[in-house]
């Protein structure tokens, strides 16, 4: 007997396969209507459907491919995103070309050119800057593109991002609950949506918690890297900045802080609490284990791939911006301040 496929479930429920896939996944179910989610799940149970990533690629003869543009595969944020993309594409017979750009626009342009010459049907970009001429050109030429993790200033291209604002709000709330008032935000580059949105959320959250802005401080780091985090914290310490907690805009900046605090004989969390953002692999294994915002990295990639497949089959006139929820992981790097 033939195993039921995702398409069988979709056909049975009268929805697009991407919708069916979304409805079957608890993490993305909220993106479809409760009625649709119910119907899809009833059909799936009735048919005895189990996801099988291999079956379909064996059967399809279509040679479909997309391009996946990322900054750097060795940054631990990106492997789960790439796997999410591939695990959705595989079952429907698509493969992804991957290019690492190291955030260099020239490398990115060369990679896109090379992939276009290989007739990719569309792209997932994890490298979006707020102003990004190449992406705007692709959108203008009606090339199917979905952005993941970062987005453009104007919502002209569909995107899937983590809820940056909610994450920063949770992080600040946690620090305030612990008793911190003198808090530093290490912000990311301000030409990226992640950097801008998290900084904006920090200002907003300060306001909501009635914190005195004069006791807090914002420093913009030149990149989302450990080295940039270390450099910025070194500068703050050299200036004699007065703080009990650091809300780092991502985990890599937080990692840079760990090293610098140790070099200055400061203990984390006894002397300084540190919070990160993303909960990349191994952040729970550091000492102290990093308190951080958990972004659903695998789901970001999977959802971006689903949206691109949808774009390929039924192009939309209004690009959607999908925001996936984040959670907060309290671990060992935060504690009440010794002197609030």
């Amino acid at each position: 007997m033939r195993r039921p496929t995702l398409r069988d479930v979709a056909d049975g429920a009268g929805v697009h396969p991407a919708t069916a896939s979304r409805a079957l996944n608890p993490q993305t179910r909220h993106l479809v209507s409760p009625e649709t989610a119910d119907r899809v799940n009833r059909v799936a149970r009735a048919l005895g459907y189990r996801p099988n990533p291999v079956a379909r690629s064996l059967k399809t003869s279509r040679s479909s491919s997309i391009g996946l543009i990322i900054p750097d595969l060795t940054n631990p944020l990106f492997p789960p995103i790439v796997r999410g993309v591939e695990d959705v594409l595989g079952p429907v017979g698509y493969n992804a070309w991957i290019a690492n750009t190291d955030n260099d626009p020239a490398r990115e342009e060369a990679a896109v050119e090379s992939m276009r010459s290989r007739n990719v049907e569309g792209f997932v970009f994890a490298t979006a800057r707020l102003e990004h001429p190449l992406l705007e050109d692709l959108a203008a030429a009606n090339t199917p593109v979905v952005l993941v993790n970062r987005r453009l200033a104007k919502p002209t291209v569909p995107s899937v991002t983590a809820d940056d604002a909610a994450g920063i709000s949770m992080a600040l709330h946690h620090l305030v609950e612990e008793g911190h008032k003198r808090i530093v935000h290490l912000a990311g580059p301000q030409d990226l949506s992640t950097g801008v949105n998290r900084l904006r959320a920090f200002r907003q959250a300060l306001h909501e918690h009635g914190l005195d802005e004069n006791q807090t401080r914002i420093e913009v780091c030149r990149s989302w890297t450990e080295a940039a985090g270390a450099e910025t914290l070194n500068k703050l310490l050299a200036e004699g900045a007065d703080f009990t907690a650091i809300l780092a805009g991502n985990d890599m900046l937080a990692l840079g802080c760990y090293d610098v605090l140790a070099e200055h004989g400061l203990r984390c969390p006894e002397d300084v609490s540190v919070v990160g953002f993303n909960d990349a692999a191994f952040m729970d294994k550091l000492t102290p284990a990093l308190t951080t915002v958990h972004s659903p990295q695998y789901e970001l990639g999977a959802e971006a791939a689903r949206m691109l497949l949808e774009e390929l089959s039924e192009p939309r006139t209004h690009p959607r911006s999908v925001v996936l929820p984040v959670t907060f992981k309290v671990r060992g790097s935060t504690a009440p301040p010794r002197s609030p």
Copy 2:
């Protein structure tokens, strides 16, 4: 003025571009003769050559691709290998399709089938088992294939691996120097060259150090994962095994030991020393930082790609097995035993 390319250097030195690339890289220079390395480096300096990964993909119109088969991109061992492959392929206009198999032969077969239907010119496999019918079939059909990290029982397919034997010997030497005699080796799966070669090297090194085999113990883990390491150590502790040090066959097994030791109230390194193998990303950030054998992961990938490019341009009758040197990183997870 046109920038000099790798091919210009190769032409000037009268060698294959892959040879030139190897000669220009300090980590792989030992793979070419000293005379050739000298000549290539003289020509490169004379021409003012700087590696440029973008230039060539812009110029080439050839649409060349290879397949890259790995177990799981979210295992931190593999992203640097993938980047090494891509950084060598990019400049000569090749792209790689990547497939994650989760070590499942059915997924692997489906991925290879899909890539062949896309006319890839060859493959790099990071998934080799000692007995591997699919690889033997590909070799029999003269499909260009290079193995990376693991190899077959018979050297019928070219491979690039880390020096497993030297790494284990260094690790055991370090433990013996610290005063350990009661040592456990957590071995990896015995259907993989990495598992078998490291276990064989452990036995050999015991002999060389005149250690009493009755004081040591070997346990084979069911996979190279944190969960398998934890499971095996739990079993040993439940049996009341008597040891002061664990030589884990890879970093993931060592990570599993960290968790179990903590659960049993045993401190690392005070009560039990732990050594890993690979020095994957973040192993220097654990607490305690992991003492481990450093394998040149990026270079393994880069060298595999160079060998595959050579195979594509001038097939060899005698497959080569290239072994790259490892180093040993002494960190915080090893110390002298309290009672030798």
